[in-house]
């Protein structure tokens, strides 16, 4: 019973079943909105179909990538991988070892689909043939009477390498999960951040590491310069100065990396300095307002007990009396602001960059308009292990599938009254295509084809 179970768990049939099941799970995760990945869509769906969502929740299908079913499948997958690897190690060892027992008669040996012989021209002896074969990458064992040659002898090691890479990715991934910190922080030009936990955004709140410390970062934002060409964001340059006075440029695809922590640009907004004054010119209030308006949506702020609902037009124009933006380029930046007191609209107007708006004895001044950015701060260990896994997987696949083994056995002997090179050959994966290769190889060596 145990032997039967062991055999099944270590079989390639089981591997294929597991991969198919994992594939089905992954595909299901694309159709069923996932709680963590698509929170808004999930909540909306939950409101519309509470029973269905509750039913799927109970099976873990809305957290499918971490559900007990998936975790079990992954565990079985790695168990299977370990057993397969364990079983294959002796096979790999026996295949890469160079042994005299591999030297057999090319005319009677089984398992070699390619057989041929080539009459040897004068002057072509054992040494020259072996030298030519070595030049083609073959390791030769034996002598002219009978020899064995192998090309890409160590290729079976790549099998182990490829499968070990999965363990590295798993190991690095687990370390990453337990040491990961995730958080968002919004900072305007000129602000300093020293990694204070309370300054991270509440929604979504920071994910604290199970093991290890919080990110150790400290920097000041010196400048934020976005670039937009024909409605397409084409770049952003954020200059940071760290606590040692060293400058770092952050952009899209260019995070600031320090102490296992990456600080990545995620979102851009404007933070105009609005000052509200009364009719005598006395300042009632003022602050830098971080507004999320660059994608055309509304945002608001309060000042002096008034609510200011804003919309931002980076390239403002009036078309048929309605405000529009001609493009996303910052050519004519204007805020359209509606002022409310106790829920009632009391005024509406526009404030251009560094301009003013007057209403009911008040004067709203915009004195400057720097940008603010939302940074995604991520601290994670184990990344180098994961990347090593990726590298090993890539090397393993290339090595195993491109540099596959070719084996030849041969003998220099008399045949039909002529001294001939009698050979047999085999290749992993290919039979017909390898025959072409062997014919080309031996014809090249003897410069005369004389196929049987």
């Amino acid at each position: 019973m145990f032997t039967k179970l062991y055999k099944f768990l270590s079989s390639l049939r089981f591997t294929i079943w597991l991969i198919c099941l994992l594939g089905v799970i992954f595909a299901a995760g694309l159709w069923v909105p996932q709680k963590r990945l698509l929170k808004t869509i999930y909540l909306d769906w939950q409101q519309k179909s509470p029973d269905l969502v509750a039913f799927l929740d109970s099976f873990g299908l809305t957290t499918i990538y971490t559900s007990p079913i998936t975790v079990t499948l992954w565990l079985l997958f790695f168990l299977n991988l370990s057993l397969v690897l364990w079983q294959r190690i002796p096979v790999i060892k026996s295949r890469i070892v160079l042994s005299e027992s591999k030297i057999v008669d090319p005319e009677s040996a089984g398992g070699y689909p390619f057989h041929s012989y080539y009459p040897l021209p004068d002057g072509l002896n054992e040494d020259k043939i072996f030298a030519a074969l070595r030049k083609h990458g073959f390791t030769i064992l034996g002598n002219g009477n009978m020899f064995y040659g192998v090309k890409n002898r160590l290729s079976p090691i790549a099998f182990a390498l490829f499968h070990v890479s999965f363990f590295l990715i798993l190991f690095g991934g687990i370390i990453g999960v337990y040491t990961e910190f995730r958080g968002y922080v919004e900072l305007a030009q000129g602000e300093t951040f020293q990694g204070e936990l309370e300054r991270y955004k509440d929604d979504p709140g920071p994910k604290l590491p199970e093991i290890g410390s919080l990110p150790d970062v400290s920097f000041t934002i010196k400048s934020i310069v976005p670039r937009v060409v024909r409605n397409t964001p084409t770049g952003i340059s954020i200059m940071l100065v760290d606590s040692r006075g060293k400058s770092h440029e952050v952009g899209i695809n260019v995070p600031y990396n320090t102490n296992h922590t990456s600080v990545m640009f995620k979102h851009l907004g404007v933070a105009p300095l609005f000052i509200l004054k009364d009719s005598s010119g006395k300042e009632i209030g003022g602050a830098y307002m971080k507004l999320d308006v660059l994608k055309g949506g509304p945002d608001h702020f309060t000042l002096g007990g008034l609510l200011f609902a804003t919309r931002f037009y980076p390239d403002y124009a009036l078309v048929d009396g309605k405000p529009v933006t001609r493009s996303m380029e910052f050519n004519n930046q204007v805020f359209v602001i509606s002022v409310e007191r106790d829920g009632k609209k009391i005024a509406e107007g526009t404030v251009p960059k560094n301009g003013t708006m007057t209403f009911e004895g008040y004067r709203l001044e915009m004195q400057e308009m720097p940008f603010w950015v939302r940074f995604y701060v991520n601290k994670q260990r184990g990344l180098s292990i994961v990347y090593t896994g990726f590298a090993l997987a890539t090397i393993g696949v290339i090595w195993r599938l491109l540099f596959f083994r070719r084996e030849i056995i041969g003998s220099i002997r008399e045949k039909e009254g002529q001294l001939c090179l009698v050979v047999a050959g085999r290749s992993e994966y290919y039979k017909s295509l390898a025959e072409d290769e062997f014919v080309k190889l031996f014809s090249g060596i003897v410069r005369k084809t004389d196929e049987r």
Binding site: I16, T232, N253, L401
Partner: protein
């Protein structure tokens, strides 16, 4: 679309349509002599498609890397380039175009219906990883497409050979044994480039999105596709799946790649792989 890009794009589509028709004519009317002439036609179509890419490059300042239209334009170019390359290396393989040319024609038609507007390169795409990731993605798409084409040819030839009077058009192709090995070889090529594509994408994703794997729909589907081809290789090497079964597998598995490139973003609008290009 730029003016010359439109002209050359349409010209290439017309030529591919004629070539596709030529291949079908060759098989249906058992006229193998047409194949090399039609292959020459494919070459002209390929030159026109290259000109369309250059015209777009001239207008935007970057190669077509993103969005469904650009996937079709550049991905189709890689598939045809692969087809012509293998046909040039081995004349017996010119007929693989019977599978790849109609596929590229459909891709180009679909791409034309998507948004082909000229846009500057989105900021998120300005990285060396784009070239590595996308280049290998297209190479793998090309390899898998050739495997599919070899699978189609294998099945047609096998069917023909089972008849009393085989269609002479198939005599031009390699033997069934060689076609079977070629299917596997193209799958292997696609799998290797696919592996590099996924690894490069993961490293890029870490810098761009903060996570090397985020179960993004395109990411997930590319993993599914990679696993399917991984299974195909295992089935062939370990379980000895050959010939008809392998051919059907190569044909069916291509659907996962097509879904990954074109299908996912049609049904899911939450993918991070939509690079905000208008």
């Amino acid at each position: 679309m730029a003016y010359w890009e439109t002209i050359f794009y349409l010209v290439s589509m017309v030529i591919y349509a004629l070539a596709g028709g030529g291949f079908i004519y060759s098989f249906v009317f058992k006229n193998p002599r047409v194949v090399s002439k039609v292959t020459l036609l494919v070459l002209f179509g390929f030159i026109a498609q290259t000109a369309a890419i250059l015209a777009r490059f001239n207008a935007t300042g970057h190669l077509p890397w993103s969005g469904h239209y650009e996937y079709a334009l550049m991905g189709g170019w890689f598939i045809i380039a692969g087809t012509l390359f293998v046909g040039w290396q081995n004349k017996q393989l010119q007929g693989l175009a019977v599978g790849t040319v109609p596929l590229v024609l459909i891709m180009l038609g679909y791409g034309y219906m998507q948004n082909p507007a000229l846009t500057p390169m989105a900021a998120s795409l300005k990285t060396i990883w784009l070239y590595i990731h996308v280049y290998f993605a297209w190479l793998s798409f090309g390899g898998y497409s050739l495997a599919m084409a070899a699978g189609v040819v294998f099945l047609l030839k096998q069917k023909s050979e089972a008849q009393e009077v085989p269609n002479p058009s198939y005599e031009r192709f390699p033997s069934l044994g060689r076609l079977d090995e070629l299917i596997f070889r193209y799958v292997v090529f696609g799998f290797i480039t696919d592996t590099i594509m996924i690894s490069a994408g993961a490293i890029w994703a870490k810098d761009l999105w903060g996570s090397y794997w985020a179960w993004d729909p395109v990411e997930t589907w590319s993993l599914i596709s990679w696993l399917i081809y991984g299974i195909t290789i295992h089935l062939r090497v370990t379980f000895g799946w050959r010939e008809k079964r392998l051919a059907w597998l190569a044909i069916a598995a291509l659907s996962t790649v097509i879904i990954c490139f074109f299908g996912v973003n049609l049904v899911v609008n939450t993918s991070l792989h939509m690079f905000q290009v208008r």
